[in-house]
Amino acid sequence: MVDTDRNQNSTPPNQKPPEEQPQWRQDFPIDVPQDNYISRREFTKFLVLTSAAFTVGQFWIVYENWRRARRGQPPVAKVALISQIPVGGSMVFQYPTENEPCLLLRTGEKTFLAYSQKCTHLSCAVIPEMEKGRLACPCHHGYFAISDGHVLAGPPQRPLPRIKLEVRGDEIYATGVELRTA
């Protein structure tokens, strides 16, 4: 026979054995060993709830991924006239929606580059530093290369999304967004 009450030091007021006590008294025991056991069991339950929350989050990402795939590439939109932006200059435009600020950069006579202006760390607006060949995020000192948007320094993990451009005559058009992991 196994003595299950070896650590049962206190006696409940109703004198009944532990397993006949009301649920609340079993969940909040007085004796330390039993309290340790219950609190660890409840903490394990909390961990499993956390695990369930992570799984829900994973499926939310699947749903968002499916929605993004359904939307497809954004429409072509006119960004600026070539004459509006000097060599070595930059300008802000919105693409593909009004809430998505992007930077158009003119690095040469016929070279145009565009990136999302939102830092991939915490979405602060990046500022072009053309003379240093980089885009700087003032919030946490993240730096991206102007040449291809890859991370030079700081906390960001992903390069800036690149906006695909097309020059038609003297007009510049945005034709899509290229997301990248590295």
Partner: protein, 79 residues
């Protein structure tokens, strides 16, 4: 006949299960971080396999929790 455990034995079991559940939850945390990173980076092949793996992890955790609560039920019914 099912085996009946003493309180110290149950304490050891709950600590062991707690450790396994904690490790699985940490793996899931890493997985959701990596999945979010790849989703934001435009990689659309990662989220579904990652979600299935996370679901398997949740199943394991639920199984371990069920076993843990089963220990108490077993003690009550056997007594």
């Amino acid at each position: 006949m099912k085996r009946q455990f003493s309180r110290p034995q149950k304490m050891t079991i709950v600590q062991g299960i707690q450790s396994i559940v904690l490790i699985i939850a940490v793996i899931q945390l890493w997985l959701i971080t990596a999945t979010m990173n790849s989703y934001l980076g435009g990689d659309d092949g990662v989220p579904l396999p990652a979600a299935i793996f996370s679901l398997i992890c949740l199943g394991l955790n639920l199984g371990l929790l069920r076993f843990l609560y089963g220990l108490d039920r077993r003690t009550k019914t056997d007594d």
